[in-house]
């Protein structure tokens, strides 16, 4: 049933992440006539149903199904922002955004700076990313570290329906360009989401659970793995302080520093390839800030430096799992 049809007394219900993002977009499109969506198949609801039925309410001028022209989807979104509208640029899946790197990296991320602040490109780029059902090397990537590295962008990596909705509302209202990584594998995950979605501030981590022995930092699709690992570790008597960063730029350095200073053991886990991943940045920053002697142990877990394979056992072998997190945590505790 459509959650919006529930009685108004039900101000918070449990809905899927994809439904939460649809609710956020609908709320913001009702609030602001300058908000519109462009991307492939969005008038048909988007391939994950993120925009289901929205064309009926807002019409094809605001829910614009486009040709398969990623460079122009991205660049046209920018152009439309430069005249004062607030586009949501849908990339279908993140990997296709790679066809629009000039428009994202050279244009959107730079235009405010190059033009001395004359323009703020108020766009949201939605890019569903990560592993999802044997999708292989061109439909599974997690390259969020590239964009945290890139000046000019805000990078959102939500993991729950409520966070996805709140961050998406904040992204739509933001004058900064926001690269919003929908966690593809969690589109069906459920959680409580209010009817009226408030914007969630960028750069504030979610403290998922508290513990004294180990700081575990993760984001996006890996958060449920981290939660399961933390539960398993707790059964062994290991207390895990679990942080879901929610955004990678800005990221909640203060929360990570406070936790790491207390537990003195830091484990950063991401689905992306470990080498050059954002986990390295976090560990380096913590060491810089707290000093080389502050931590007893630190470690990153990520994928090996491999393209994502198709076959389930191959994909499983390289994937970051609860078991790998638990094993790494145990080894850190031995340190």
């Amino acid at each position: 049933m459509d959650a919006s049809l529930l009685p108004p007394t039900a101000t918070v219900e449990t809905i899927t992440l994809v439904e939460a993002t649809r609710r956020a977009v609908r709320q913001e499109m009702r609030r602001d006539p300058l908000v519109w969506v462009l991307g492939e198949d969005v008038a048909r609801g988007g391939i994950f149903g993120q925009y289901r039925d929205l064309v009926d309410e807002f019409g094809p001028e605001r829910i614009v199904s486009t040709p398969i022209s990623e460079a122009t989807i991205m660049g046209a979104g920018l152009g439309a922002a430069l005249v004062g509208t607030r586009p949501i640029i849908e990339m279908r899946i993140f990997d296709f955004a790679l066809c629009a790197m000039d428009e994202l990296v050279n244009q959107i991320a730079k235009i405010r700076y190059m033009f001395g602040g004359q323009a703020k490109p108020a766009v949201v780029i939605r890019a569903p990313h990560g592993l999802w059902r044997s999708s292989a090397a061109q439909h599974s990537q997690s390259l969020e570290a590239w964009f945290a590295h890139l000046p000019g962008l805000v990078v959102a990596v939500p993991a729950t329906p409520a966070d996805a909705a709140g961050l998406l509302v904040a992204a739509i209202r933001s004058d900064d360009p926001v690269l919003f990584f929908d966690p593809k594998a969690l589109f069906g995950a459920t959680g409580p989401v209010p009817q009226e979605i408030a914007p969630l501030p960028f750069g504030v981590a979610r403290h998922v659970r508290e513990g004294d022995d180990l700081t575990l930092v993760c984001w996006s699709s890996i958060v449920p793995e981290g939660e399961r690992a933390a539960e398993a570790l707790e059964r062994e008597g290991i207390g895990v302080d679990l942080l879901d960063l929610r955004t990678l730029w800005p990221w909640d350095e203060a929360a990570v520093l406070a936790s790491a200073a207390r537990t003195r053991r830091l484990l950063v886990v991401h689905e992306a390839v470990r080498t050059g991943g954002f986990g390295g940045e976090i560990v380096a920053r913590v060491v810089e800030r707290l000093g080389p002697g502050a931590l007893k142990a630190a470690r990153r877990i990520g994928a090996p430096r491999l393209p994502v394979p198709f076959s389930p056992p191959l994909e499983e072998a390289m994937r970051v799992t609860e078991a790998k997190i638990v094993a790494a945590a145990r080894s850190l505790l031995g340190a």
Binding site: P67, V83, G84, T85, E103, F115, G116, A119, D176
Partner: protein
């Protein structure tokens, strides 16, 4: 004749701006390098002369003429070339990224064809806003071999967007003769294959450019969808201020000099009875205006180093490092 006189004045100002900037560059007064449009002034002047102030343009790396013709502030532009405080882009962009949103100039672009998706999106946004403004999208003959040109043509035609595509065909893609790297009959045929009506014009005849642009823009503004103007011109100088383009056929260059758009406009004005001294005065005034802008830029302060940290983003802006 008054109109041609105004176009002549505008072309003279563009020419003088770039000549003065090149002298300043050679004298070591301005950093980096320039992409001069000398010889191509009639395209910028002709098209922009028939745009409204609230119409928008997107430009190229060779964009000084487009910016000036759209009405960008000369001193702000010159200071920008010099990297000084008070520059149009606060010294962040330089010659290749001149923009002046106050006059609808949405930016030069360092990437060939980079302005095309931006232009079609601006047109789409303007329509959503209920505006009857249009977008003129300048690009070169080299850009027609990039994907965004083909995507953008398709896109504009599909949504019947108010865009005038202006192919400024100076016959050369950076350092390579464009025809040697372009298959098929060229930009007009490519536009027509998307159902976009296109016409070719002598791009060194400023009146012809203005008339063609006016005709096409009228169709665009009436909701007739995009049009394409193919303006044949010639880049009299090299790709950049440091390229002497010595590799070109000297006969071709000599012919092109005789076909200089300023010379041709001048001849027409003389034939119509305008006194040569009046035309000389136009050139001299333009020179004085641009030399004054150069002097202004030279005396302008440099930006404060801490300004390098500004205008990146509101959320998550890097704090200024202690310098």
């Amino acid at each position: 004749m008054a109109r041609l006189m105004e176009l002549y004045r505008l072309m003279a100002r563009i020419r003088a701006f770039e000549e003065v900037a090149l002298v300043a560059h050679a004298a070591g007064e301005l950093p980096g390098y320039l992409h001069p449009s000398i010889g191509q002034e009639a395209v910028a002047a002709g098209v922009c002369s028939v745009l409204r102030r609230d119409d928008r343009i997107t430009s190229t790396h060779r964009g000084h003429g487009h910016a000036l013709a759209k009405g960008a502030d000369v001193r702000g532009m010159m200071r920008e070339l010099f990297g000084r405080a008070g520059g149009a882009c606060r010294g962040k962009g330089g010659s290749m990224h001149i923009a002046d949103f106050s006059v609808g100039m949405l930016g030069a672009n360092g990437v060939v064809a980079g302005g095309i998706p931006i232009a079609v999106g601006a047109a789409q946004g303007l329509r959503l806003l209920g505006s009857d403004s249009i977008v003129a999208c300048f690009f070169g003959d080299g850009a027609i071999n990039r994907g965004p040109f083909l995507e953008g043509l398709n896109w504009a035609a599909l949504y019947r967007l108010p865009v005038l595509f202006v192919c400024e065909d100076n016959m050369v893609a950076a350092f390579t003769a464009a025809r040697s790297v372009t298959a098929g009959p060229g930009v007009v045929a490519r536009a027509e294959s998307f159902g976009v009506a296109a016409e070719s014009v002598d791009g060194n005849d400023v009146e012809a450019v203005a008339e063609a642009a006016q005709r096409l823009i009228a169709c665009v503004r009436r909701g007739g969808g995009p049009r394409l103007l193919h303006a044949r011109t010639y880049r009299l100088l090299g790709h950049t201020s440091t390229d002497e383009a010595a590799w070109r056929d000297p006969d071709e260059v000599a012919q092109a000099k005789a076909n200089d758009p300023l010379v041709r406009a001048r001849d027409r004005l003389l034939a119509a009875g305008v006194d040569g001294a009046v035309l000389d005065a136009v050139l001299a005034e333009a020179r004085v205006e641009m030399e004054a802008a150069r002097a202004d830029a030279l005396q302008a302060p440099w930006p404060e180093p801490a300004e390098a940290w500004e205008d990146v983003q509101d959320i998550g802006a890097e704090p200024v490092e202690q310098l």
